[in-house]
Symmetry: C2
Subunit: 474 residues, 2 copies
């Protein structure tokens, strides 16, 4: 192409032009996205999270190895039930291989196994495989459902109720989608319980400036570690029904319940047991993942959503959206299959599997208790029981001079605390401000995943640092 | 919660209420999304696509098996170079395992290997690992970059130029993001070549009602199979520079070039060789995938984007967006590592790898030629040479009465043809209307992936069906 006279080529001559994409001209919604869990402060947390990876992984990795390299099906080194399992997964795959695209909603027999898992979990209440969509981790499915809900402009913009504190995927996705985040506060004084009166307050207040259409629940709670009672769940369902809210139940920690007296109740089960009109009309999406539980296979990115009472036309639209990304990663689908149909008593791997699963969960339970105990022995730190999930979210008192100093540095006070902690002790925790908290309160989120012999010194070091920090700024 | 008197509980009594989410109230952008490639007609195409899966896969699956189940590192059945490779990948993983989250941008050593691959590919022009972001297949990265570009309202809404025919990920993503799709037509009479005059026409026309900010190129072309010349790429870069357009180069078929005289030139290489101001200022994102080439590991969902001359502040925002989804699936990252650093001449696997890679590519080249030859022997079908990628996109003549009949049925004429073809022959091809085509022309996309001994009868059966269909409606 020859150079053209006039305007355009001046740019070529006259030195640097402005970029097409700058902070000023880029998608403003993207700029508003915040995601504390992957901020600079948590790079090291990744390392800690690895500690979960022990024991029970072997049956999974054996089957996955057989799936990715089927030559191994002839090897005498693998147990027969692992081979049968791998063979059945491969049978369901196009070209007998994990390397091919699957159906966009996931491999059909795996959707069926998920339905059977849900049915067992929910005491026999049926689940329909056609209402189950496999996903790239739970995050992917959560964003897809939120996407469907977004509509309207100005005062009719979609509002979505989310708990505070929350897992920041929600605030990030709502910012990106230009929906209105409607905060309801969990009650720290009642071990982070959800209170329907507070839901109602948040809803009424929001109705002035947006159109609330969905209610997100995280149970067991991230970062709170709270496990909801059956009564609470019933009340939430009644509320959602009366107020015409689509329910989104983030239940990725359903296998992680430790506290005595606490038990996981799925929203689906409670909804169905409440009978009509709830069971026949209340819209619900429930999310699960292979990244948590006792398996922690987060790197493989597997999960699913089950939808209940969704308008079939909308469900078709959801399926279409999932198809644009072709399919969820096959290794994640394969491991989901193993998670939802673990070895049975007659299988050679059963005893080992059960023993290792119990060991992992018992270990987590012990660490949950240890965390609460150590923190609550420290003046200025108060930690609710870690009933479930994988985190403690203790409240910390910070001296006014530290708060002042943080403000001078342009930092949230708990971010300032966490940065100092990281610098002086190497311990990496995420400041509460990334999850949301009541004005004037400060927290951090710490995982209970480190091995017990490492966790105790970590907790003690952290407590000592808090004392030192408090003295320094008093 | 006790039942409350008054308004809300009436809903409970008075039978079915309206759903929160209906076709009328859902996200209108989602409804506008269309994605022909995964429409009902292509369910069977998935099966065909499996045929690629042969030969060269073994070195990949061996290493992947070693990575997912490291116990195998002690097995004598795996070659030493596969073990070394697996060990080096695992070294870079948190907890020495593919089951853990990685850095959101991907495992650092793999980003470095991608940079080295690009540098080799581009004759030594350097690539910076920090400009490379691993992704869940190329689709994921393409949508992320489009997301950054979306801004403005009304006549200032972002416009994005895309080729027609296009791969429908682009139209789907633009619809979802509420951006304006600006069509530029590829020239069927010149083997689907891109013409800068046509780009200019499309741009000028679009400027009346939106703000065009980006230009998407698919090279080698999907569905066209066209491979762009170096001259064409230079002209496109000059055009983008003069018109201030961000360049998005979808280069996922870079290993799939078959025609004599055709050669893949990366946009990055041409841009850099053009020197300043282009090389120092033109913004570019180039996408690649493990789903195509000679490996076809689509089920593992792996890919990457390299960004060039991107505003560092925007690049940080991009990294943030990627972190919200935590990380790309680890097995896809591991296989990307193998794709970008294949066995070297000194490795035990080298000879077998080279032989199988060459065999797969030679086979595809033969099938590309066969497709063109068979179709062009049929009256009423005209097929451009399949210079690259994995598809033919022949033009078909349809008799006026068939077009009339399709309209009565509410179908696009080529959709009607493809549905009849599927019913009567079991052959599944995607109608051209899903990719876009000039008004009044009709096409379909067919993959060249089936094994040669199956492809020839398929092509002949399809040709015979076209003749029969034409007679029937004449």
């Amino acid at each position: 192409m020859a150079a053209r006279p006039g305007g355009h080529n001046l740019a070529v001559m006259n030195g640097p032009k402005e970029k097409v994409l700058t902070l000023d001209t880029m998608n403003a919604c993207v700029k508003r996205v915040e995601y504390a869990v992957r901020g600079p402060i948590v790079l090291r947390a990744l390392e800690l999270e690895q500690e979960l990876r022990q024991g029970v992984k072997k049956p999974f990795t054996e089957v996955l190895a057989l799936c990715v390299h089927p030559d191994l099906l002839n090897s005498p080194d693998f147990p027969e039930d692992a081979k049968r399992r791998a063979e059945s997964i491969l049978q369901a795959c196009g070209g007998h291989s994990l390397g091919a695209y699957s159906n966009s909603s996931g491999i059909q027999p795996i959707r069926e196994h998920v339905a059977q898992y849900i049915q067992r979990r929910d005491g026999g209440i049926p689940a329909d495989p056609n209402n189950i969509f496999l996903s790239t981790g739970a995050s992917d499915a959560i964003v897809t459902v939120l996407k469907l809900l977004v509509a309207g402009e100005g005062r009719c913009r979609t509002g979505v109720l989310i708990p505070i504190p929350q897992y920041p995927l929600y605030s990030a996705a709502l910012a990106e989608l230009n929906a209105v985040q409607v905060d309801y506060y969990l009650d720290e004084d009642r071990a982070w319980a959800l209170d329907v009166a507070e839901l109602r307050r948040a809803l009424c207040q929001a109705r002035g400036h947006c159109r609330p259409r969905a209610l997100c629940i995280i149970n067991p709670g991230n970062p709170t570690g709270q496990v909801q009672t059956r009564e609470c769940i019933e009340a939430v369902i009644r509320f959602a029904f009366e107020e015409q809210l689509f329910l989104m139940a983030d239940e990725v920690y359903q296998d992680n319940v430790y506290a005595e007296g606490s038990q996981f109740h799925s929203f689906k089960k409670v909804l169905m047991e409440m009978g009509p009109p709830y069971s026949t009309q209340q819209e619900l999406a429930s999310f699960h993942s292979i990244s948590k539980g006792y398996m922690g296979e987060c790197g493989l990115r597997g999960g699913y959503v089950e939808v209940v009472n969704m308008d079939p036309a909308v469900q078709q639209q959801m399926q279409k959206m999932m198809s644009v990304r072709l399919c969820p990663p096959l290794p994640g689908q394969a491991v989901l299959d193993m998670v939802v149909s673990p070895p049975e008593p007659s299988d050679p791997s059963f005893t080992q599997f059960q023993a290792e699963k119990q060991a992992v969960l018992a270990d987590l339970a012990a660490k949950a208790k240890l965390t609460e105990k150590v923190f609550n022995a420290v003046p200025g730190i108060r930690c609710n029981p870690v009933q479930g999930a994988m985190y403690s979210f203790p409240r910390i008192e910070l001296p006014p001079r530290a708060i002042q100093r943080a403000k001078e540095l342009g930092l949230a006070p708990d971010m300032f605390f966490c940065l100092r902690l990281l610098e002086e002790t190497g311990i990496c925790v995420v400041p509460g401000s990334g999850f949301g908290q009541r004005e004037g309160t400060y927290h951090f989120r710490m995982t209970i995943l480190p091995a017990a012999e490492k966790l105790r010194p970590l907790l003690e070091k952290l407590s000592q640092f808090h004392a030192k920090f408090t003295r320094e700024y008093s």
